[in-house]
Symmetry: C2
Subunit: 441 residues, 2 copies
């Protein structure tokens, strides 16, 4: 704990609506999201000292303003409070206070807009904590006493699957050999897979070229987007198979509604004899739904998202449950800042929790990386552990300024060029203050 | 269909943040919501003619601004469009477009803030439809051809439990005897239960007095709030039992996380031998979760909420699934406008779907009724069918003006009297535009 810790308070919080005009690039992530503008609600916690914490949650453009507004509503729960009351032994209570705000919880609870906002704030708190200790987040977690680590997790609603005592035991049992595993990671890195060869709008020719390039560079796991049309899906699968030479999909991802636990279980049951797994999680709202996906044997791969659930504290709970149910975690990444975050979590999983990379890969999609101060080190298709203190999501001040929506210079330029409609110039279809006669009661 | 229908368009939409300072009254709905300010996001659709549609979704104060903002983001999907393209045979497509907006859906999908917003807009569309036909909503539904009725429902993600064809057959089978059942309702009304005798902060003395009063007035179903402390809960149960003389709880409500389908199933299993049912639904996010609660035998009573899920169209899907799984619907009411809405749905359930009131009661909590133009008619502990066209949620213009948050006169008075903090005067802890040096890249 650094010297000035006791005296340090969160002095202020800022939250910004940062959007990148990726819909112009025509990189369609799925048939349900044909035209995303990759975005984030970007949170900075300012303290009495130079120390700052940064956190974000990934969004697709419209709707970011809702998360930004929700963060503002949560701000009073962290601003003005000393770090000693927010972090360390108080992290669980801090987290619980954020998800159970007595009025706000009605418009959740623990899901959607308000939970994404919690994720961004909690991630900023963990970034602050790691910076305070002057270590990258994965190292903070790895070196953390198991007792302290489980004390940061709120076990409410999951004790039927995992108690605090069981979590503690799992971590304690893995203390041995930690240093060797850390050295192994520092030397060899963590295996990655690529999503960049199979975007849904790619032509057959482009898929062929991309697959050949990635294969030549050593990649062995490829993601192919499906869902537009069964016949086209089959043709595309055949095309990729012809090039990469593998026989069977490792998993199918989110094959039905992310809310349908029993539906996923039915699909997983049907696919198990074929040796094809079911993966899901990027749209899974919280630890309670992950718990049930595990209990119902509905998933063979657990795809946590670093900021859809309530930040690091809740993600740790999900990793611990996945370990107990013997399901590997392969995190969702890409978007804005997800690769930056999940590498830390997966390093911790290897060193402190599971001790294996078997059946585990981290998604890698290197778009928008240039906006982050800490560069991801993916070499020879492997993620190497970050070395800079924090959670790796601090963005360049110039990127924040340029891409703040709707008035950042990059956006103004797009309006001027006619590439995007200027929201200020839109003929607003709302009547915000309808003029009405006040009727007699 | 009225004559000027073809030409009519939705000209504009207004949405207002309406809050009532109920936290000052100390009527605590549950231990998780100790100090709610009962509120709503209130939507009005304006057309080319005098015709308007009103819809709302119930909230608890903070967070209403998020739903209001989400409604504004959805407005472009309905404003400017002719009613012929929004309603009737196009209702399913309209609903689907609202829940699958390609960027907004990421911060849901179909849950929390964005789904509450969909509920308010969809309820306003149904109100408009009923007014167009000059009938109350329950009568619109009752007289609707079964084929048209099922065409308003989006069956996506529920066909494994209920197909459109099955839904159609269930409705067609109940066509016979409809007129008799409608007459029965008009004459005898629908049984209600009261929540007003057992609020959690009531003293034993107050509970005793209230129970005796309600019992004398003919009430036979009482709700008692629990959850603060097991010993106190037991004492309060004993107290009520001594007065009303009934032996066993009919149900226990939302005994665990609203997201925990399998947890509810475990509790229901354990309680079944005791003859105590499990009820849940007021915080259940959408039809996909209700489907699983039914599939897993996790609920004995289905407590739909008229606006947490996506409005009338989605509520109908849930009623139809409940009928198939033979689970009675006892709607969540109270709040702001919920009693007004659910009475319509429950009348339709009796006349057109199940033909019975066995094990079915409508919650009745008559607070804030005075703000609505259409009065609820509860006589001798029974709801009588509304007679005025629409969905009964139109509020008095004066109420809307007075209680609009944060600048309505009723709120300004409270700030002046020192009863509520004026948000405009709060020392804002946010730094919205942090001044930062732009670092060299």
């Amino acid at each position: 704990m650094s010297d000035n810790f006791a005296a340090t308070r969160v002095r202020a919080l800022s939250v910004r609506d940062i959007r990148f005009p990726t819909s112009l690039e025509n990189t369609c992530p799925s048939e349900q999201h044909p035209d995303p503008d990759y975005s984030c609600a970007y949170v900075t916690l300012f303290t009495d000292t130079d120390l700052r914490g940064h956190g974000l949650c990934f969004t697709l453009g419209r709707g970011t303003e809702l998360v930004v507004s929700a963060v503002k509503s949560l701000a009073r729960l962290v601003v003005g409070r000393p770090l000693s009351k927010l972090l360390y032994g108080n992290m669980r209570a801090t987290w619980h206070s954020l998800v159970s705000e007595s009025q706000l919880r009605w418009v959740g609870p623990e899901k959607g807009v308000v939970h994404l906002a919690v994720g961004a704030v909690v991630n900023a708190l963990w970034d602050l904590w790691a910076r305070l200790e002057r270590v990258p987040l994965w190292k903070l977690l790895v070196d953390m006493d198991p007792q302290v680590l489980v004390s940061t997790i709120d076990f409410t609603y999951i004790t039927d699957a995992l108690t605090e005592q069981e979590a503690l035991q799992m971590l304690q049992q893995m203390q041995e050999g930690k240093q060797e595993r850390e050295n192994f990671m520092l030397k060899n890195g963590y295996p990655a897979y690529t999503t960049a060869a199979g975007w849904i709008e790619y032509s057959d020719e482009k898929i062929r070229t991309k697959c050949e390039q990635f294969l030549a560079r050593g990649w062995r796991h490829f993601k192919l987007k499906v869902g537009l049309d069964l016949q086209r899906d089959k043709e595309r699968c055949r095309l990729v198979r012809d090039i990469i030479g593998f026989c069977r999909p490792l998993w199918i991802e989110e094959p039905t509604s992310p809310d349908d636990i029993l539906g996923h279980a039915t699909i997983a049951d049907a696919l198990r004899p074929l040796g094809i797994g079911v993966a899901t999680g990027e749209a899974c709202q919280n630890r309670v739904v992950f718990k049930q996906l595990l209990q119902a044997k509905a998933i063979d791969f657990c795809q946590i998202d670093a900021c859809r659930v309530g930040g690091v504290s809740e993600v740790l709970a999900i990793y611990l449950m996945a370990k107990k149910f013997n399901v590997p975690v392969c995190p969702h990444a890409g978007g804005v800042g997800l690769c930056q975050m999940v590498q830390h979590l997966q390093m911790w999983d290897y060193v402190s929790l599971t001790g294996t990379t078997k059946n585990r890969v981290i998604e890698y999609v290197p778009h928008l990386e240039e906006h982050f101060k800490t560069q991801i080190n993916v070499t020879n298709c492997r993620y190497f552990p970050p070395k800079i203190p924090g959670y790796s999501v601090e963005m360049w001040a110039k990127s924040l300024q340029d891409y703040e929506y709707p008035a950042g210079p990059a956006w103004k330029k797009l309006y001027a060029e006619g590439k995007f409609p200027d929201p200020a110039m839109e003929k607003c279809p709302l009547v915000e203050r309808p003029i009405e006669r006040i009727s007699k009661r």
